[in-house]
Symmetry: C2
Subunit: 156 residues, 2 copies
Amino acid sequence: MTALDALAAHIREAIPLTRHLQFALLAHRPGELLLGAPLAPNINDKGTFFAGSQAALLTLGGWALTTLEGEACVERVDVVAAESSLHYVAPLYAEARVQVHATPDDLAAFARRLQRRGRARLAVTAELLGPADDVAARFSAYYLARDLSASHESVD
Amino acid sequence: MTALDALAAHIREAIPLTRHLQFALLAHRPGELLLGAPLAPNINDKGTFFAGSQAALLTLGGWALTTLEGEACVERVDVVAAESSLHYVAPLYAEARVQVHATPDDLAAFARRLQRRGRARLAVTAELLGPADDVAARFSAYYLARDLSASHESVD
């Protein structure tokens, strides 16, 4: 089982609402995570992708990328969402793909700080896309990671 | 059946994800809507209220208040989310209550514009609260409403 499959299984097991999003973690490389989710379980009264499902999926995507990046530099990490903003660009009448990003500079600072201080913040951005790469929503957020595997002198 | 019960039934019927939030619309008066949701279906890996569930519940709450306010001034209204921002203040280890607000001035301008132009934007704010009125998250958003029951000369 890959790290991505293991994380998806953990999410579905520990966070019941995510099962109903029917999300998939599709691909990960440093600073980038791709997720997908079908329309049917996330449809709204207008036949488009429910704004609340978009918000949940984007929030989950940023959390998953921060977790994967944290696990790449410390053994056990705990991640929580701190802030987010979301701009709904256009209605989506199909399944969604979510592309989550963190910049190389932000990732390097995040890894350094998490290893030294035991806590670090990561800024992520994401787009929720339709089948023709049409942007349905833009998202930006901060997540806080904490190293659970070691003690650190200062946590600030 | 009250307008609030009818709206809750419509939401659950038309937006499948909302059934899994197990939300309730508890009370409405002009400019204020109160929602609730239990912890169990919205729990995360840390035993707290999942950030994605919070985001979905807050997004739904703002949509529901805008819909109720729109229905108070035109016969048939269609509401979509436009923008939102969310600040996670503290973890929540219990069921959530969500208080959604719009100011009297904003509501009056919204009603006037919706009736005259057939389209209007409403700014809402919301807090997600724990059992002791402890704030777990603060939310602000804009929603766009469209009057489906009449034709209007200008929509801008």
